[in-house]
């Protein structure tokens, strides 16, 4: 059993192999986002800071989308899952950010949590089907495709960056801080 810290986060391995380390860091970042959003009501999840329009609710919905985009649509070539398939991306490229304001905190947390559960299973599936070097099934328009390794490292960066946004948002909502 992996040890959890005071905020319910699993510490990444000190001397793990490549897969254990990448997945360990990704899960730590996911748990950090859950902590930064924990216990907030709709007003807290919809607060902004400085000049930015970002919100914690928007980050939750964006990360749910990004989880599905990389691990389901790109890595496995699956069709977009709801609600992404139903969204009008033509009308609003940042639909997931903006539409989050109309969702309840419970909906936003469930949307993100379910996406994370799907992603974990999809990574396990890809590991059994070629490992970290396995290319994404859906390449980009120029024919190149990122490897599973690329996607995992990218997701760690993506979460860490948004957790930096979450730090400043959460501090402005109720003063809670911490790494």
């Amino acid at each position: 059993m992996t040890e959890l810290d005071d905020h319910g986060r699993p510490e990444p391995p000190l001397g793990g192999d490549e897969l254990a380390t990448l997945v360990g860091f990704l899960d730590y970042q996911r748990a950090t986002l859950a902590w930064k959003c924990a216990g907030l009501d709709a007003t807290g999840l919809d607060a902004t800071v400085g000049r930015s329009t970002m919100t914690l609710g928007g980050i939750l919905k964006h990360m749910a989308y990004v989880e599905d985009y990389w691990f389901s649509e790109r890595l496995h070539g699956h069709d977009p899952s709801p609600p992404w398939a139903a969204a009008d991306w033509e009308a609003d490229r940042d639909w997931e950010w903006h539409s989050a304001a109309a969702d309840t905190p419970e909906q936003l947390r469930a949307l993100w949590q379910d996406a994370v559960i799907r992603s974990r299973a999809l990574v396990t599936e890809a590991m059994a089907d070629g490992g970290l070097g396995r290319p994404a099934r859906r390449p980009w328009d120029n024919g190149t495709a990122p490897s599973l390794r690329w996607i995992l490292v990218h997701m760690i960066e993506e979460y860490a960056r948004h957790n930096g946004h979450a730090d400043l948002l959460r501090e402005s909502v109720d003063g809670e801080t911490g790494e």
């Binding site: 490549e18 380390t21 860091f25 730590y28 970290l132 390794r149 490292v153 860490a160 960056r161 957790n163």
Partner: protein, 199 residues
């Protein structure tokens, strides 16, 4: 920050966006590539600011981009001296209170922009040389000096991932600070970007 921004950037040539990691490289290429991409992104967000910009705060936070430049300079040197090899942190920190958590953040207010950019640029240059040497010597599996106190040492892989995480988080802080300073937003530096301030 939509995922769609990635394919556009990855189609650029290496000389336009030297910070982009390879799509299907080795583990070392990916981890060092991710670190370099974040360093370039952080440096872009911090670039070209005057004293007022470097000391700007938002919301309830005391963080500033000037403080982040100095903090990350300390973290760079700390990671690849004390944590990696157990050697002293060395210049320019050994006479400073670098190991007090708040010092880099608070003392940055007394530094000039040129000093802050030079601190970060110098630390990154040292880190690149130290990490290259360590990778040539023993790769990512090698055990670093730092341990949990029970004899379990961190691998170099863990240290590099720690630094990626550290940069990602602080670049997120820099995103919101920079937007409040002059409205600059975006996920990656524009193609062809080079730092304009510092040495």
């Amino acid at each position: 920050m939509t995922p769609e921004s990635v394919p556009i950037v990855s189609g650029m040539t290496e000389s336009d966006s030297p910070w982009e990691p390879p799509l299907a490289g080795t583990e070392v290429e990916h981890l060092v590539g991710a670190l370099e991409r974040l360093r370039a992104t952080f440096r872009w967000k911090a670039d070209g600011l005057d004293e007022a910009g470097l000391q700007k705060r938002i919301g309830a936070s005391t963080l500033t981009i000037g403080g982040l430049l100095k903090h990350l300079a300390v973290v760079e040197d700390y990671m690849f001296t004390i944590k990696l090899s157990g050697e002293p942190i060395g210049e320019p920190w050994d006479a400073a209170e670098w190991d007090e958590h708040e010092w880099p953040f608070t003392s940055a207010a007394g530094d000039t922009p040129a000093q802050l950019y030079a601190l970060w640029d110098g630390a990154v240059a040292r880190s690149r040389a130290r990490l290259d040497a360590a990778l040539a010597e023993g790769g990512l599996d090698q055990l670093a000096h730092v341990s949990d106190g029970d004899g379990h040492h961190a691998s170099l892989r863990r240290l590099v991932c720690d630094l990626i995480e550290e940069y990602g988080r602080h670049t997120g802080h820099a995103d919101l600070l920079r937007e409040a300073i002059d409205g600059l937003v975006g996920e990656d530096p524009p193609p062809g970007w080079r730092a304009t301030s510092g040495g």
